[in-house]
């Protein structure tokens, strides 16, 4: 289980990294923690001619607390978030999500930016970041741009990143009296989720956001669930279940009975968890 040969570069600036990735015309990949990418390479599931090491770029390590929002650099590791070493806009949600990703040895190197950019269909961060309505900062050959996290991941292992582009980090707004809940079902602790849900609501902040991952595609918002939960302090289990199933019919039309049960369970538990706090 060893990777095929590849070239390695360690650029010192974002511009240099973008130039290297652009010049490679799709045969290069950026690497930071490498906790998914190196495994895919060892299993020869992906062939890459050049790895561009972006793990030391200062822009990607930035952590900024701007009061109304927080910027978290893409190279921030799951363990840093788990241990509360970042300014936290999520009142503990991000730390909880981080602590349930894989194992500590993986969390020490794996990064939030890598999780988002690789877009594994069962990854935890896409669901969490779309529930928090985060924005993604992207650098590329044509400069820097911001996109909504919800629009960023577009399918299983698919994002809107163009050739040469890298994720710099995430902007997450602080919300007044925010409540959150999350639930995850996996076959064993540390395994990728069969289903994972994140629910976030805040006073006077529009629809509550329920996000689901672990489908065959990408993490998605469940709009009918948000609408049903809005301004309702007591939820009817039957009505909630119907709202979840309505969303699932659209988002995961091919789900079997077991998958549907998992998704209904995680979404319901995430809401219960939020409302209990």
């Amino acid at each position: 289980m060893k990777s095929a040969a590849f070239q390695y570069s360690r650029p010192e600036t974002v511009a240099e990294a973008v130039a290297l990735l652009t010049a490679a015309e799709g045969s290069a990949m950026p690497i930071s923690g490498g906790q998914s990418l190196l495994i895919l390479m060892a299993l020869r599931m992906t062939m890459i001619d050049r790895l561009v090491d972006i793990s030391r770029l200062p822009e990607l390590r930035e952590l900024r607390d701007d009061r109304s929002d927080v910027f978290i650099g893409a190279s921030t590791t799951h363990a840093m978030i788990e241990d509360g070493k970042i300014p936290d806009p999520s009142t503990g949600l991000m730390s909880r999500v981080a602590s349930r990703i894989a194992y500590r040895a993986i969390r020490n190197l794996g990064t939030i930016g890598g999780s988002m950019a690789l877009a594994d269909p069962s990854a935890d961060w896409p669901a969490c970041l779309i529930a928090l309505d985060a924005e993604v900062s992207i650098a590329g050959p044509d400069g820097q741009r911001w996109e909504k996290a919800e629009d960023f991941v577009s399918g299983a292992y698919e994002t809107i990143l163009l050739p040469g582009e890298i994720v710099l980090g995430f902007r997450i707004a602080r919300r007044q009296s925010m409540r959150w809940g999350t639930a995850k079902v996996s076959r064993k602790s540390g395994a990728f989720a069969d289903s994972m849900a994140v629910f976030v609501e805040a006073a006077g902040d529009g629809l509550p956001r329920a996000a689901l991952t672990g489908t065959t595609s990408h993490a998605r918002i469940l709009p009918r669930v948000g609408k049903y939960a809005q301004n309702r302090s007591i939820l009817d289990p039957g009505d909630l279940r119907a709202a979840i199933l309505d969303d699932l019919a659209e988002i995961v039309p091919d789900a079997d009975a077991y998958q549907l049960r998992c998704h209904v369970a995680t979404v319901s538990r995430a809401i219960t968890d939020a409302r209990a706090s």
Binding site: M1, K2, S3, A4, A5, F6, Q7, Y8, R10, I31, G34, Q35, L38, I39, A42, L43, L51, D53, S55, A79, A102, Y103, R104, A105, I106, N108, L109, K188, S189, G190
Partner: protein
């Protein structure tokens, strides 16, 4: 090949490294540090766990070239580590190993668990250890060893 400078068990070296070499292969094949065991070679079993700048990592999913300027500690480097002496003794006393293949990784992880959770409960140890696979012991001895080692280390500090 990329010239890389790194510190292994306190010794700073510089060596030409092929980018595709994992840290585990580099340690075993080029530095003869064969205490780091390779089980699955894709980050699933935990046998190759080492310490990188004080953090536990899986050396099979770390590229040696990416360790430029960093400090690595392998099981060989823990011979003079006081907490590790205690942990090793408790592994022996509680029958926490049989074939010994997973043991270097288990010990590195055990020390990390005790450092982060000075008073680890049975369920904390179980969940924190869930990334380390042992096919002999059924884990009971390992969990007992970590629990009692943590107690001895805690008592020594107080």
């Amino acid at each position: 090949m990329t010239v890389t400078h790194l510190t292994i068990n306190g010794e700073t070296i510089s060596q030409d490294i092929n980018p595709r070499e994992s840290l585990a292969d580099f340690l075993r094949e080029r530095r003869n540090l064969t205490g780091t065991h390779l089980g699955c070679e894709h980050g699933a079993c935990g046998a190759c766990t080492v310490s990188l700048d004080g953090m536990v990592v899986r050396s099979c999913v770390v590229l040696a070239v990416m360790c430029e300027g960093r400090k690595i500690e392998t099981i060989e480097g823990t011979r003079k580590s006081e907490p590790m002496d205690v942990i090793r003794r408790h592994f022996h006393e509680k029958h926490a190993l049989q074939c010994g293949f997973c043991t270097p990784g288990m010990l590195m992880m055990a020390r990390d668990i005790i450092a982060r959770y000075p008073e680890p409960s049975d369920s904390v140890i179980r969940s924190q250890l869930s990334g380390q696979i042992c096919r002999c012991t059924g884990y009971a001895g390992i969990i007992a060893a970590i629990e009692s080692a943590a107690r001895e280390i805690r008592d020594a500090v107080e």
